[in-house]
Symmetry: C2
Subunit: 262 residues, 2 copies
Amino acid sequence: MKTRREMLVAMGGVAGAASLVGAGFFNQMFASEAFASTKSNLKSGFPWKYVELDPDEVAEKAYWATYEGHCMYGVFTPIAEALAKKVGDPWKSFPVDMFRFGAAGVMGWGTLCGAVNGAAASIYLVSKDPVPLIDEVYNWYSQTSLPDYTPINPKDPKMETVQTISGSPLCHISTTKWCEASGRKFFTPERGDRCCRLVASTARKTVQLLNAQMAGSFKPQYAIPAAVQECRSCHGKGGGVENTNTKMDCTQCHDVGEDHAS
Amino acid sequence: MKTRREMLVAMGGVAGAASLVGAGFFNQMFASEAFASTKSNLKSGFPWKYVELDPDEVAEKAYWATYEGHCMYGVFTPIAEALAKKVGDPWKSFPVDMFRFGAAGVMGWGTLCGAVNGAAASIYLVSKDPVPLIDEVYNWYSQTSLPDYTPINPKDPKMETVQTISGSPLCHISTTKWCEASGRKFFTPERGDRCCRLVASTARKTVQLLNAQMAGSFKPQYAIPAAVQECRSCHGKGGGVENTNTKMDCTQCHDVGEDHAS
């Protein structure tokens, strides 16, 4: 078995290739890995009809929807309600309240951030090729300084927020990084408002991506980081170990010392 | 600030209380923490109608539904289809295909296990008091040796599986533990079949809990582990640090040495 250092050298070619061919290459590779976007056995009428929406309008509504029903609901509901207005049925009868379940990583469990759980649900429901868009939202969310949406009509006009890079789509990582950067506690109005803005950012991004795909102009801008590619070269599909399947940043939780894989 | 050792001693009383009053006390405490089950601003007709279902019948269908649309779809679809048969509309028109998005922690991202993502969605859609049931499924999934369902009509009658305790509702942790215990790789028919059985177990548990709640006989059997309570005493609501909100096992990823919080 190669040492970790040898593996790093071997991976250099792959990392170099990534920088040359851009995000699309890797995202396409992963999309085809196990989950094809197009299924032959979908029920009749699926995916549901999507028409172009105004990303900023959805974002502002998402900010307020999050105060109403938390993060997953906050992304899904304004998209569904905008489509109910423009398209009509079956959107009018969708039980949007069900997505309250995703609050704070599913009812306070701190697992998957409800914003990206809701984004994936929205995208899958309307896109004919959802996997590249879901990958894009998850990479964007993990790698971008957020929230990047400022509400036109904020709940408290005096309230501001700091931006943080989560490095992860998980709720408890995203919120803890923000708490540490802002100096605010979790159960404060400021943290709550930050999450409403984060949902607004995510809803806007989701609509931008869906609009772009529909217009034929979608191109992925984010790729899985090179460090994660390195882990996947052994632990992912086709690797010598192949004991997992993830696109998250492994090193955020797993301490990989010099003696690893030697 | 107290040392970690002093905190451990101080927490002894809480841990003791937990063993005395059982799981209900803590689950009730956490359910009321931030996410009330009952909302006054739900849309008309929500939650949707639920009638008693056969847990074993749903489990067998969940096993096969997972081969069709992966884990989240695998839990949700047989419940929705059974209710469509017994109740009719609006169940007949629910776009179950959308829950394909939850596959392998959302399209291979390894985040939240689709089985419990689907369980939470199902429960929230039909229960008038969903949070205690969601907590119960998540604690059960994390602490139980799974899968505990053997299909009546397995895809490969010769195929067997080992049981593992995940300690987590996250996909990549659950699957990696199984890969290590079984000696099988991730992208093998054996791992796939294990996940189909795990979904069947989770769908059965979900239906058992919904039936019990409807019959007025639900009592939580699982609590958040004492070690997690200890972390939450500082990092959770009301704690001196209060920089996060989770019910997952912190120590599974976070190495807490003797000098922690000293």
